[in-house]
């Protein structure tokens, strides 16, 4: 009598990716919390915990955009920037009168909302274009947003809010506080972000993204990616579905930026430049397009890699660059790919990572 071994529902088919993602996040949270409380974590690593969470959330959003919706976005950092400076301004305006947890939640929600509004506004022109032209317009919007925030001056005092653009003519009454200071950015921010908040944000974004991917709208988004004309002919509104992915993606970036902004006492607008957008794209591509688990792992590894290479000092960024090139060359090498496929067939059952693009 033959009996087939049955896999538990959570480990088979479409649920496997989700289960693995959630477990990675929860297990690493547990381990790191224990390590932090027993004093086994160096201060350098402790300081990296919140930024890693932020990059993971922003990269998950970008993967929805690039992997699932198939639009190359070179301006994800600008949504982080919008979220960060919205959150910093709100948190600074509320001041210490509001308890820090409430302030953190309010600021993240506000950052995410404002970034979503920006995402929709920017999405209207962007999503009318295709391919490389779409990519360059997201790059252009990234530069414009950076340039605008670099020229904003915003302060608060007993008379209320003061705002000026390009030339700094904000004069504050005694006891007033400058929240945005042009190229200098935000200074004197209360550092209210916590690692736990970061983990909760990652879990929330995973829930949102997985629910979207496996819903009717998610299937429409992927159909529009794989064959635009066929999708259109079965009645999918291409612009709307793409906008949904773009909006959720910028919302997540905004929330990530908010958490990031509230983690540092000073934050300059130049932090969220073209290089940050590119870095997020590198995490997404190395992790695998459309694969959220891959994005989480790639982000963690690539944020920590330069720190792990710190003993190499000057050579570390050089090695980072070489690693990047080698990974790309090796993963696209025909021999290695065939070998990897064989290995995968032997150890894994069908299903699972069916959401990446077929290559």
């Amino acid at each position: 009598m033959k009996t087939k071994m049955k896999m538990p529902a959570l480990l088979s088919g479409k649920y496997r990716g989700r289960t693995v993602s959630y477990s990675i996040v929860l297990v690493s949270w547990l381990i790191l919390e224990v390590m932090m409380h027993t004093g086994n974590l160096s201060s350098l690593f402790t300081s990296l915990l919140v930024p890693v969470c932020c990059y993971v959330v922003a990269a998950i959003g970008l993967n929805l955009n690039v992997g699932i919706s198939g639009e190359l976005n070179l301006g994800q950092a600008c949504f982080m920037s919008v979220g960060a400076f919205t959150a910093v301004c709100l948190s600074g305006s509320l001041g210490p009168a509001v308890p820090s947890l409430a302030r953190l939640i309010l600021s993240i929600v506000a950052g995410a909302l404002v970034a979503t509004v920006f995402g929709i506004l920017i999405g209207i022109p962007v999503l009318k274009l295709e391919g490389d032209y779409l990519a360059i317009v997201t790059l252009a919007f990234g530069q414009i947003v950076k340039s605008l925030i670099t020229n904003m001056y915003f302060g608060i005092d007993s008379n209320g809010f003061h705002f000026s653009f390009v030339d700094n003519n904000v004069s504050l009454a005694a006891g007033g506080k400058m929240l945005l200071n042009g190229p200098m950015g935000a200074t004197g921010t209360d550092r209210i972000s916590t690692f736990t908040a970061g983990i909760i944000l990652i879990i929330l974004s995973l829930i949102v993204v997985y629910h979207l991917i496996y819903s009717r709208s998610g299937r429409a988004i992927m159909a529009a990616r794989d064959n635009r004309i066929a999708a259109e002919s079965v009645g999918i509104a291409i612009f709307k579905t793409k906008m949904l992915a773009f909006g959720v993606s910028s919302c997540l970036a905004g929330a990530a930026g908010a958490l990031y902004g509230l983690n540092y006492s000073t934050l300059v607008p130049a932090k969220f430049d073209f290089n940050t957008s590119i870095l997020l794209l590198v995490y997404v591509v190395l992790g695998g397009l459309g694969n959220m688990t891959g994005t989480i792992i790639a982000t963690i590894v690539l944020v920590l890699l330069p720190e792990l290479l710190r003993s190499m000092q000057d050579y570390r960024m050089l090695i980072y660059a070489i690693v990047l090139i080698l990974i790309m060359l090796l993963t696209n090498n025909e021999t290695i790919r065939v070998w990897g496929q064989k290995l995968k067939n032997r150890f894994m059952t069908k299903g699972g990572a069916a959401h990446g693009r077929e290559s």
Partner: protein
Amino acid sequence: MDFLSYLINGLGLGSVYAIIALGYTMVYGIAKMLNFAHGDVIMVGAYVAFFSISNLGLPLIPAVLLSIVVCTVLGVVIERLAYKPLRAASALSVLITAIGVSYFLQNAAQLLWSSSTKVFPSVISNGGISWNGLTVSWLTLITIGVCVLVMICLTLFINHTKTGRAMRACSEDKGASTLMGINVNLMISITFAIGSGLAAIASVLLCAAYPSVFPTLGAMPGIKAFTAAVFGGIGSIPGAFLGGLLLGVIEIFAKAYISTQLSDAIVFAVLILVLLIKPTGLLGKRIREKV
């Protein structure tokens, strides 16, 4: 008169963008990839020119030639080592590799030559031509002249030589070109060689105008020139020329008449407007997708 002098300065800056944009657009036309490392080839060209003038004491012309040779070899080596194995890979993998190459060049430059800014020696005499109260510096004139010369030579090469025709054939259809006996890999290498050589010329013109040399020197001109290439319609050589010149003029006008701090934002806003009205750039071909 102010208007005219701004216009000429804009054309000068635009000429540099146009020369860099030619490299982007030619590589895109034939290899269908965005070569993000192009800006860093400019940086290498600038360092080579700097060292050959300051340390080796070479005159300007041999220094420029040396820089062109080094950049050409560098461009071909990068293509052979990093991009050639990825011919069949997805566009995104190639893009990430190009980003890796860009990081590599920047960090190698930082290790070899330190991150401190070096002052590029003044190589072109300061004066200029004055006419009716309008002064145009030699540098601007030379820059515009070089750009026009490059453009004429390149157009003649692409349209009237056998190699040029072969390159155009490759950009139309690689499979058919191979069947016609064209060595596609060689054509792609030649394209990279020409693009990188032009980057070396642009680097010297750029450093003559803004005399500081540092490892991330190529990043911003790279992004601007890339924008210029898209502006004119990526893949189109006259488009890169037109896009570069327009971008330079818009940037100088925005700086002069609107705001220095916001000039970048204005340049990119104009790009977005143009792409919304003409989604494939000014001179780009519209290819309709068929079922």
